[in-house]
Amino acid sequence: MSATTNAPQVYGGDEVGAVVLDAGSFSTRAGYAGEDSPRYVIPSYYGYNEQKKGDLVEDTALDYASITYKTNYKRREYTYFGDESIHVPRSQTQIKPIIHDEIIEDWDAAIEMFDYLFNNLNADIEEQPVFMTEPVWNTKVNKLKSLEVFLEFFKTPGFYLGKAPSCTAFAAGRPNSLIVDIGHNVTSVTPVLDGMCLSKNTMKTHYGGGFLDAQLRCSFMQRGIDLIPRFQINSRTFTKYSLEQLQAKQKVEPQFQTSSLVPENITESFKEFENQRIYNEMKESLIVVPETPISDSSKFDYQSRYFELPNGLQVEFGDERYNIANSLFEPTNFINFWKKHPEYHHDDDFDWSTGENGELDELDINNDYVPLKRGKKKEDTAEYSEGGPVASDGTGTNNNNKPSNSSAASKNAKVAGLSSLINKTISALDVDIRQQVAHNIVVTGATSLVPGLTDRLFKDLGDTNPGLKIRIHASGNTSERKYQNWIGGSILSSLGIFHQLWVSKQEYEEVGGERLITERFR
């Protein structure tokens, strides 16, 4: 906090101690405006202890009518937040998501999570305004709810919902750009003009980090390996499981002893949550995006690599390393595989082959026929079930796409990979800004850290758009890439000229939420 009030500094900063929240579907980031990285990054999940809840005589934690946040609010006794407590194995404790598709689904848990963060940040929330990021497709209901929660329940002096891509554009220093955010649940492509998102041109799919997780899980299932999370293991001896052994259908038994300290009745969701840390590690160190698309027939040179599981099993991965990462660009390969082998579909799995509204049977994914002449423009003419333009309820911009239209289109829809999603977005833009936007493609989100991703993207886009000069900007700094949304929010809410945009309690009461969300949160 070093802004002087006497002379404006070059960047025009004036900090008011705002708290910045960036709630993603994988992790939630929180910190103070003006700082260069979030202070707390916690999972967007919470532990829910059913046993403890059952024992409670009286549960008043959610009785908001009788609670004031500052004086008598207390988190539920049977919920757990933050890395240091959520990973502790407890019996009958479910892990539940708070946020889905970047939209807060479980508001009770979200309030608890924010309380957890505010406490950790030592924030005096009645004195400090709160800046929160929101996706372009945020719903009106959700926006109104956030206004209500922050202004009426937390009683923050000011509250603002900033569009996540706008924040990224700020963090990247490119007011006119195309923000490609490859996160956990969602991969989205958003054109930003003068720092404002074009909601009608925003596209999203579900092929992000979670999609890769599902494939990694599947490749263990195919090998017949039961993943044992680290907390269950006491000691182990290393055992190799090579590709040759896999091909020879040889079974390899891991040598390990389970820990006796683990309580009974550990839930499946907790195990899966802990396994996700293995997938995470694999995504960081194992998978690689190949330089060129992989068609089913062609074989390509690959280097195999061993990955060590918590139970001491060292598993060799060959072309899967490339295939899995490649699925971000060509999701159809895996979707077809799952269609053929439903046994590899995990119960909790999201139905990847469909969008939010597409029907599996009627999807015509295999139809690769494209008239010769139009072959190059394949992406432009095809319709997608996933990756349709999103329209937020809040601004209600959906008057051009008739709903009847979109359901008809989904019948012979095609699943969009990352490159075609971007291509489609660019070609749908107004011609006047197309060049500029193509020259400022900002790649962000933690899944974009998979090695080779930006190179492949650059090649794909260059091939399909010869008339445009493509430039991709991806921060080389890992934490910057992961937290770019938050950083942008931190910059934005520490600017002197921003302070007229906070929505205050008084305004909220006078003007009303409905009008505020359309006119203020633009």
Partner: protein, 450 residues
């Protein structure tokens, strides 16, 4: 190790002995590693010496009192709700009346059609009659909200009515603005205070929707080119530029030629040379420059001779070497006539000196040549005339076109003669063609430029 040692190691000759005293400035005595480094520079002293003016890091000033910073509430007058936030402020004085960032809260001034003006000005003879007053007002509100960023307005435009394109919105906005401005102008005119800029603005508001759509179509086509098309276009552009340059060069040459043909216009005043005194002066100055030039040359040679003995002797050797081949070249010239002049005593020569008929000569294969021959045997094919490589290739290609081999297969004397005549003709014709081409292009250019 000093600079001299280094220079010696690299065997670098110094033109003059280094002057020790001069280099060391009395003001600044360098010490330690700095001095060593400085000496490494040798005579390449930097042209500009910058003395570091500021220390890299300011020393902490512990004597002065720390500035007071306070966490104070402030009011931002850009807001209507009087929200008070807190920030850090330096000093202890009262907080300023105005928030420093208020000044950046700027809004566009746009016309604001209300119901009355709409009824009065826009409703009747409205060409775009599918627009209602409500929607027009909504459009203006959006324009104001998004500061005329059309693409964003189009993105957020959400009115229950007919679907509107970006161009529709623009056209509506500009036409309504125009109408309102014309009305304002009328009032101003009546009052007698007409603003020139406003009249200009009204003209500028003529928005042609179809033109805009066409422009976008063209742009779209431009962006949708295939790589082959782009490559072709680039090569065409390069070629066009080359043509342009050639034309320019030719015009310049032509202009220079014409300039030469004109009588040279003297640039300086010649009146001072009109009398004998002036002429003498001119003569003297010319003499002087001439002499000084000569002297310079002499000096140059003197310098080379005064350089070390070794180089001198080398030069001498070289000179001798150069002279020797010259002599050896001259020798055969002297000897050859002796060899070729027939000995009168030789009987064969006597026979030859007898006149033979042309028939006999042909039969014996005898020939006489006017030019002096080189001694020794040579092949007749080596006598075929050859040209500069550039010309030769052209000749060869012409021969190819005609279906004649580049070298005759049977090299008899007659064939070689004829072949020489042929190639001679070809070169002449090629040259002529080139001239004609250039004159033609010149002509075209002159005609075109007129």
């Amino acid at each position: 190790m000093s600079s001299h040692d280094i220079l010696d190691v690299f065997n670098v000759q110094r033109s003059e002995p280094p002057k020790k005293k001069k280099k060391i400035e009395p003001k600044k005595q360098l010490s330690g590693i700095n001095r060593e480094l400085y000496q490494l520079l040798g005579e390449n002293t930097p042209a500009l010496h910058l003395k570091p003016t500021s220390k890299f890091r300011k020393r902490l000033d512990t004597n002065s009192k720390a500035a007071a910073w306070r966490w104070v509430k402030f009011k931002n007058n850009s807001r209507d709700d009087g929200l008070q936030l807190s920030h850090w402020m330096k000093g202890i004085g009262p907080s300023p009346e105005k928030y420093q960032f208020e000044q950046y809260n700027q809004k566009l001034k746009l016309p604001d059609p209300d119901d009355v003006t709409y009824e009065r000005l826009i409703k009747e003879n409205d060409e775009e009659n599918d627009w209602t007053c409500e929607e027009t007002k909504y459009l203006f509100k959006m324009c104001k909200l998004y500061d005329l960023r059309w693409i964003i307005i189009n993105d957020r435009y959400n009115y229950q009515g007919p679907a509107r394109s970006l161009e529709d919105l623009k056209q509506r906005f500009y036409s309504v603005c125009q109408k309102i401005l014309i009305d304002e102008n009328k009032i101003l005119k009546e009052a007698g205070i007409l603003d020139e800029n406003k009249t200009k603005l009204i003209d500028a508001l003529n928005f042609d929707k179809s033109k805009e759509i066409d422009r976008k179509k063209y742009l779209e086509r431009l962006l949708g080119r295939s790589p082959a098309e782009i490559a072709e276009e680039e090569s065409l552009v390069i070629e066009a530029r080359r043509f342009e340059q050639a034309a320019q060069k030719m015009l310049a040459e032509r202009a220079a030629l014409l300039h030469l043909l004109d009588s040279p216009a003297s640039t300086a005043n010649i009146s001072q040379y009109s009398n004998s005194q002036g002429l003498a002066q001119l003569y003297n100055s010319l003499m002087f420059t001439d002499k000084s030039k000569k002297r310079k040359q002499e000096q140059d040679t003197a310098v080379t001779s005064s350089a070390g003995m070794a180089t001198d002797s080398k030069k001498l050797n070289k000179k001798q070497q150069q002279q020797q081949p010259q002599q050896s070249q001259q020798q055969p010239e002297i000897i050859s006539p002796q060899q070729t002049t027939p000995q009168p005593e030789n009987p064969v020569a006597q026979l030859l000196s007898k006149k033979l008929t042309a028939q006999e000569e042909a039969a014996y294969g005898l020939s006489y040549h006017a030019e002096r021959l080189q001694p020794g045997v040579h092949l007749r094919s080596s006598k075929i005339a050859s040209y500069k490589p550039s010309v030769q290739t052209k000749v060869n290609s012409t021969l190819n076109e005609l279906g004649i081999p580049n070298r005759p297969a049977m090299i008899s004397k007659k064939i070689v003669e004829r072949f020489d005549i042929l190639t001679d003709a070809i070169t002449t014709l090629l040259e002529t063609k080139k001239q004609i081409d250039s004159i033609e292009t010149e002509q075209n250019l002159v005609w075109n430029s007129q």
